[in-house]
């Protein structure tokens, strides 16, 4: 009896989940899948509500379908089933896959043009524009949550260790010296840690030191790029981490965002982290902190180059049954999100960077950066100097997987199972296998 009633209840719930929302028939629905959680998710949801309230033709539906990789798998499956979401938020590492398969998406520039919506790629900050545009200037996806890697410093621990937090370490030798001093004086359990190991220690590191990740202009020149980052400067970085982990000057904090917890708990004195994590650090860390640019090796490069963007961008899927009306709605929703005021609000609420120059200037004009020390560090670091082929971003298929290869091999080096050089050699070998496989698989697709 009891079980039967519950089964009926379950069936009723299942029925509800399947039935479309009949009430909203009049408006054309625009679906967007996002892969972020926390404050960023809440903000995007809010913008969709505001968009819906601002007009009566379209209804933007923002859905969280799991974190980036899960969401991507779901979106690809939906594409194959002929029913992808209109818009998908794709993380930085997936960009190369999307570029290699242009038939799957419609460039944002084209979506806007077809709908007659004003859109100027030049409005976006250079690194974001470069990262998401084709060589001819067509913008493939809309930069949304833009970030780069910076170093956060726990001022209280620095003071306790006899260091001056107003003069944060600029170079790697200075970082190591500071970390050793922190350990010697027992000011903290660990000197420094990093989130997103491959993104910070391989990708950002290579850009600011003007070192190539591969041939073919970091993959922007073609799918036949061959990875070649197994050289002495990159191996030295890994070796430095291995050596520093012995006395806990460095503590490995996992492959993704988890090391953030080590910093906000006061376990580690320094953290290399996405600038998008600023708001969460400000909320959770019970100490004063400051923000510094990514450290560099002065004997490799005297004037470090710009770092590269991370985060995610918004892609518009191409599907056989898309109507002109739907694409018009997509264009209007994206234009709504790309307004300077939206970018300003998003940047303030999350710590991501304003994606357009107008938004950046608006924040400057209202004195945001004076009131919020350190919030301009990432954008200044992103835009410093003239970008080179090595600092203008990279474009590789299957980069998500290649990042994990780097993680695995470096983890083995940290366990003392192989040398730093061997870790990079193995990453490059395995990574090139994946690139060749990808090249073959998409070769006939376009």
């Amino acid at each position: 009896m009891h079980t039967r009633r519950t089964l009926l209840a379950a069936a009723a719930v299942a029925g509800l989940a399947l039935s479309p929302a009949l009430a909203q028939q009049a408006r054309t629905p625009i679906t967007m899948w996002i892969g972020v959680t926390g404050p960023a998710q809440e903000e995007i949801m809010r913008y969709a509500q505001e968009f819906n309230a601002s007009q009566t033709q379209f209804e933007a539906k923002v859905e969280f379908r799991g974190q980036y990789p899960e969401q991507r798998a779901a979106a690809f499956a939906a594409f194959r089933a002929g029913n992808p979401p209109h818009i998908m938020q794709m993380f930085d590492a997936g960009t190369g896959d999307m570029f290699a398969l242009p038939r799957a998406t419609i460039p944002v520039s084209e979506v806007m043009q077809r709908a007659g919506v004003q859109f100027d790629p030049a409005a976006f900050i250079g690194p974001a524009r470069g990262y998401y545009s084709r060589p001819d200037g067509t913008m493939n996806s809309l930069p949304f949550n833009v970030s780069t890697a910076v170093m956060f410093i726990n001022d209280d621990i620095f003071t306790k260790a006899g260091l001056d937090p107003s003069k944060p370490p600029r170079t790697w030798p200075e970082v190591i010296a500071a970390a050793n001093q922190i350990r010697e004086r027992n000011a903290a359990e660990c000197g420094f840690t990093t989130t997103w190991l491959a993104w910070t220690m391989l990708e950002q590191y290579s850009a600011i030191h003007d070192l190539p990740l591969s041939t073919e202009a970091n993959g922007r020149g073609g799918l036949n790029a061959v990875l070649n980052f197994n050289d002495a400067p990159r191996a030295r970085m890994v070796q430095t981490l291995v050596d520093a982990s012995r006395n806990k000057a460095f503590q490995y904090g996992g492959r993704s965002n988890d090391a953030n917890a080590l910093f906000v708990a006061g376990t580690c004195a320094m953290l290399i982290q996405s600038s998008g994590g600023h708001a969460a650090i400000a909320r959770d860390l019970k100490a004063k902190f400051s923000v510094a640019p990514m450290p560099f090796w002065p004997d490799v490069i005297a004037e470090p180059k710009n770092s590269i963007v991370g985060g995610a961008s918004l892609w518009v899927f191409n599907a056989p049954n898309r109507s002109a009306e739907e694409l018009r709605g997509v264009a209007q929703f994206l234009a709504f999100l790309a307004r300077p005021e939206t970018y300003v609000r998003f940047a303030k609420a999350t710590g991501f960077l304003p994606a357009t120059n107008a938004a950046f200037q608006a924040m400057q004009a209202e004195g945001f950066f004076q009131q919020n020390a350190g919030r301009d560090v990432p954008i200044l670091q992103l835009t410093r100097g003239t970008p080179t082929a090595n600092s203008a971003g990279y474009r590789f298929g299957r980069w998500t997987e290649i990042r994990d290869m780097y993680h695995e091999e470096v983890e083995r080096a940290l366990q003392g199972q192989q040398t730093a050089q061997a870790a990079l050699d193995n990453t490059v070998r395995r990574g090139n296998d994946a690139l060749r496989q990808f090249e073959r698989s998409v070769g006939a697709a376009n």
Partner: protein, 293 residues
């Protein structure tokens, strides 16, 4: 075996079978067929370009040192879990068999972990083994063992092994105890009169009589360690650090879902299919014998 008396209706049996067959076709046969077909293809994630490559994916997978070492690790892990859960269970069952009172209460408590999801069991043991705060890791640290499953692959392997085995002990215990209780006491007493010592009696009389149960449990536990421990590994170590706890199922999941390498992930799926078929055939051939007993 067949029934002699049956009902004459012609259409009704099809209707009764329809739901089961429909689900079987749509959710088992269709995707399994797809998996086999996809294992012979090279395609991009969106399916624009589909090239038939024959057995190339299998060749690539079976020549990949990473895959082979994962396979080796999976076998070691599976036999490790099996041994670690069966040996204590047998010991406990032998002891419980001698206890006249309280056997039921013991059974109730010992079988509790079997009800717990593998991922939850993993979390419980991960907590005990947390460096610096874990109730087991703390004394280890005091005696100078720098315990850290996050950084050390062997430590990580020990945690997933223990968690996976812990969950199965009660189950094995139940079957061993049932097996022991079905052995006629007269046999053992006869041997005792002959003056055989207890330990000898166990190995020469009891253990051989238990062998059907042991063999059955061996297969069940291997299957469990092979497939159902995905939850432990996904929740506790994510296959890391390095690749030190990556098993075959985890790799197939990662390559298919995260790396979007559809062809090679499907080739791995087909290899796994052969392993399941092997285990099932062994299990059922054995069951057939047991049924005729």
């Amino acid at each position: 075996m067949e029934r002699k008396v049956v009902f004459p209706q012609k259409l009704l049996p099809y209707l009764l079978l329809a739901p089961q067959i429909a689900i079987t076709l749509v959710f088992f046969f269709w995707p399994a067929g797809q998996a086999i077909w996809m294992s012979t293809l090279l395609q991009d994630p969106f399916g624009f370009s589909v090239q038939f490559v024959g057995l190339e994916n299998f060749q690539a997978v079976l020549q990949d040192p990473a895959y082979l070492s994962t396979m080796q690790r999976t076998f070691l892990f599976s036999f490790g879990v099996t041994a670690l859960s069966m040996i204590p269970a047998l010991l406990l069952a032998v002891m419980a068999d001698r206890v006249v009172r309280g056997a039921t209460a013991y059974k109730t408590i010992l079988v509790v972990p079997y009800a717990i999801a593998p991922a939850v069991a993993g979390a419980l043991w991960l907590f005990l083994f947390q460096p610096s705060i874990g109730t087991i890791a703390y004394p280890l640290r005091l005696i100078g063992i720098d315990w850290n499953p996050r950084i050390d692959g062997t430590d990580a392997m020990i945690v997933v092994l223990i968690a996976s085995a812990w969950k199965q002990i009660g189950y094995n215990f139940l079957f061993f105890l049932a097996g022991l209780q079905s052995i006629p006491k007269s046999l053992i007493e006869a041997a005792a009169i002959d003056g055989a010592r207890e330990i000898r009696r166990f190995w020469t009389i009891v253990f051989p009589l238990l062998s059907p149960t042991t063999f059955f449990l061996l297969i069940v536990n291997l299957t469990y360690a092979f497939f159902d421990t995905f939850g432990v590994i996904h929740a506790v170590t994510q296959g890391g650090p390095g690749k030190s706890t990556e098993v075959l199922i985890y790799k197939a999941w990662y390559d298919g879902l995260i790396a979007q390498d559809l062809g090679r992930s499907s080739a791995q799926a087909v290899i796994l299919m052969f392993i399941v078929i092997g285990l099932t055939v062994i299990q059922f051939r054995y069951i057939e014998r047991k049924v005729h007993y």
